[in-house]
């Protein structure tokens, strides 16, 4: 099966899945083998460039984690491991037997549990700046105490104005904006608030390393070198835990490598999703 169908990747649908009493909204698009994307703190937006990147070589399912829109997380979801079980149920309802799994930030935490607990479901795994790891002196940020300025410093590596595409035609030029004033920042800030209200300010899951060691799937780990929420040492630790993992460290990128180094990030992910055989084990790529 070929890859790189920009036309198929650009078309998507909004759908709803019902799991018991719970409804899950999700975006679906692209062509190829199934891919489940578990979003990060930013929650759920539109069919963005990152979805298109996944969809160039996959049939993408991008659910909105229940509770991540209004902050009312269902009471039975007490941890990322519970979200992982819900995602398993989502795949079952969608009729997917095996999928490529992509998890980012809080979604990475969830994806690690999903890949470890249900190995038959996960053919390949991409983890991006996952929260939840517990690595010696490289402590995660104390997000509960962060004000907006500190949070912005921790999440985004970019400083000053950045070129963002025009709304009226993203293909044609762009404008310079301060990312801190952007809707992106507001979404991440809101996600942080939901996270803290849900599981508290402690982002260290002491069992996550052991969980990761059980993962069998071929894995790409992408991490921003300047991630102020989950330090890049966490990416190295994760690469040591997962047997078939390749680690890509992106310079000048924070917790949002798909924003800070958009094209480089997308390039690595596209390459992995198109031909994961090209990625050998124990390879650490500095980009």
């Amino acid at each position: 099966m070929g890859t790189g169908y920009a036309g198929y990747a650009s078309v998507f649908n909004r759908k709803i899945a019902t799991i018991g009493q719970l409804t899950i909204r999700y975006l679906e698009g692209g062509y190829g083998i199934p891919l489940l994307y578990v979003h990060g703190l930013e929650g759920w937006g539109s069919w963005d460039s990152v979805h298109i990147t996944f969809a160039l070589s996959n049939h993408v399912y991008a659910p909105l984690l229940p509770g991540w829109q209004d902050g009312r997380i269902p009471s039975f979801i007490k941890s990322p491991a519970d979200y992982a079980k819900l995602m398993r149920d989502f795949l079952e309802v969608a009729g997917i037997k095996t999928a490529t799994l992509v998890g980012y930030s809080i979604g990475g935490w969830i994806a690690l549990y999903l890949a470890a607990e249900f190995p038959d479901l996960v053919e390949r795994l991409v983890i991006v700046d996952s929260l939840g790891l517990c690595v010696g002196d490289a402590r995660p940020a104390a997000v509960g105490k962060m004000d907006q300025e500190a949070f912005g410093e921790a999440v985004f590596a970019r400083r000053g104005p950045v070129l963002v595409p025009h709304d009226f035609n993203p293909d044609f030029g762009g404008v310079f904006e301060d990312l801190r004033n952007s809707p992106d920042f507001k979404r991440y800030w809101r996600g942080k608030e939901i996270l803290v209200n849900w599981i508290g300010a402690n982002l260290e899951d002491s069992e996550l390393g052991q969980v990761a060691r059980r993962i069998k799937a071929k894995t790409l780990i992408v991490w921003g070198r300047q991630d102020g929420l989950a330090p890049c040492e966490h990416g190295g630790f994760l690469a040591d835990c997962i047997p078939q993992a390749t680690l890509v460290l992106l310079a000048d990128a924070g917790h949002t490598p798909m924003k800070d180094k958009r094209e480089t990030f997308q390039g690595f992910v596209h390459q992995f999703l198109s031909n994961s055989d090209a990625f050998g084990p124990d390879r650490i790529v500095e980009a």
């Binding site: 890859t3 790189g4 169908y5 920009a6 036309g7 198929y8 650009s10 078309v11 998507f12 539109s46 069919w47 963005d48 460039s49 990152v50 979805h51 298109i52 990147t53 160039l56 104005p161 950045v162 070129l163 595409p165 025009h166 009226f168 035609n169 993203p170 293909d171 044609f172 030029g173 762009g174 404008v175 310079f176 180094k261 958009r262 094209e263 480089t264 997308q266 390039g267 596209h270």
Partner: protein
Amino acid sequence: MKFYTFDELTYPSLAELGPEFKFTNRFCDPVVVHRAYLDHLEEWSMCEDLGFDGAFVNEHHFTALNIQPACNIMAAAIIMRTSRMKVGVIGNVIPLRNPVRTAEEFAMLDCLSGGRFIGGIVRGVPQEYVAYNIDPFTSHARQREAFEIIHKCLTEELFDYDGKFWKVTNVSIWPKPIQRPLPFWMPAGSAESIEFAAEHRICSAQVFGPTLQFRENFDLYRTVARERFGWDPGFETFVGARLIHVADTNQQAMTEARDALGYFFRTLTRPVVNPAPLPGHSSDRSYAHRKRRDQDVPGPNTPFEEMRRDGFIVCGDPDYVARWLEDDMRGARYGHFMGMFHVGNLQHEKVMRSKRLFAEHVMPSLKAINVDEAAASKSHASAAYEIKGPRGDGAAQTVPLYPDFNYVLTRDCPEAVRSFIEKTDGQSVAAGWELKVPEWGADGFPYEIILVGPTDDQRGSAFRLRLTDAEGCEPHSAKVLVEVMDPAGDHRQVAFQGRYEDFAGIPDQQAPEAALNIHCRVEAQSRFIIRIAVTISPGSPEPDPDGTESFFEIECFKHWLNITA
């Protein structure tokens, strides 16, 4: 300074709809398109009489911004309406087109124009990759490969190409272009495109930016050309393109252009369903390159006066326009100015008037700018596509053997009928081989074998021969005759007549250009006999044409007669 006219051929009468409407072809009236084509053709072709140096058209797809997706057709129409000025495309979206076809069309346009055509290439915009369903991550690689094939088509006589995206064999385009080399232009905004243009010595065009932005991109080109590719581009390598409108007064010009520019922006909206930037088409490097500037393409809400100040549109009376452009040309240091006179839906008559004012009052005062280095740069720019001779030093060379053979006759080829040893006059012995061209080839088509004789630039078909006796010894003295005759043995044609010693005297007949050659062109048609005979002097050992060391080879042309319905 040289002057060109160029427009996005914008559909002129879109309804006043908001951005929530996608401008699909639901809004396209072909009759309006017909009128727009004729208006633009008149505006472009009039430039020849006004003293412009050329006219350019370009290609976009799936958009009202530009309704000439097959811009080569429009170039042909301009060519037929002009006789002096250059006509170019800037350009064809080569990553999404068949490159051989592109080269063929460029060559045709150059022949049609009598050598006035300028080829152009672009990488295409994301919406085109979406509609063509092509991986945007491959755009640069596709462009590189396509350009290489186009270059080969235009410069090489015959080639194969085994690429990642295109594989072609036995390509030799007809016609080939008059201009050698065919000049190329391209817009180059990203760092990668600038480097590509510098590597291939393609004239680089900048559009929609302030003077400083033009200057920075041209300087990057100059630096890359000098430091990485060892050449020093002059003014004629650089093209500044600007929306422009000239009227009798500044106020009139601004009034006329303001709405037209607003319309231009309305047509610039993305026409396809996906709202997100397409990944893979740009790079973080290019973002960083553009980030150094204080603005990129202005948005639709940018005040008109600001866009006028920055040169997104040069708009005013002739004096204002001349002064603004002089500063721009000297500041950005380019040698070609490309005026985009038909802004958005500006009325035809106003465009014509604007061009006349420009030609009469603006062009003359700017002609002398940035021409000093032009001649020198032209010689550099030309070097990229020059065809080198076999040696390139002009030295006298041995005329080569016939190079285009597609078949080799041997004692084992399907045409071989028998070997023979015959007494000729009771004393001499003739030995050799007899071949017969069959009535039909294996695929049911007839063919003929042509042994090629000498011409001014080649010696004829290579002919290699060795005939030994049972002991492996060659005859000391013998005559060699190659002849062709019809099935009845009549109509004999002699292709070669010579001495065996000449073959024996060659240390290695397989060495390049070492073989002897056929002396006279002959055609062996269906059922004709080809006879290679070596006549040996009396007393010599009897030759053995079936011996292991005996052989012959004639490099010939097998001409298939394809009789198809």
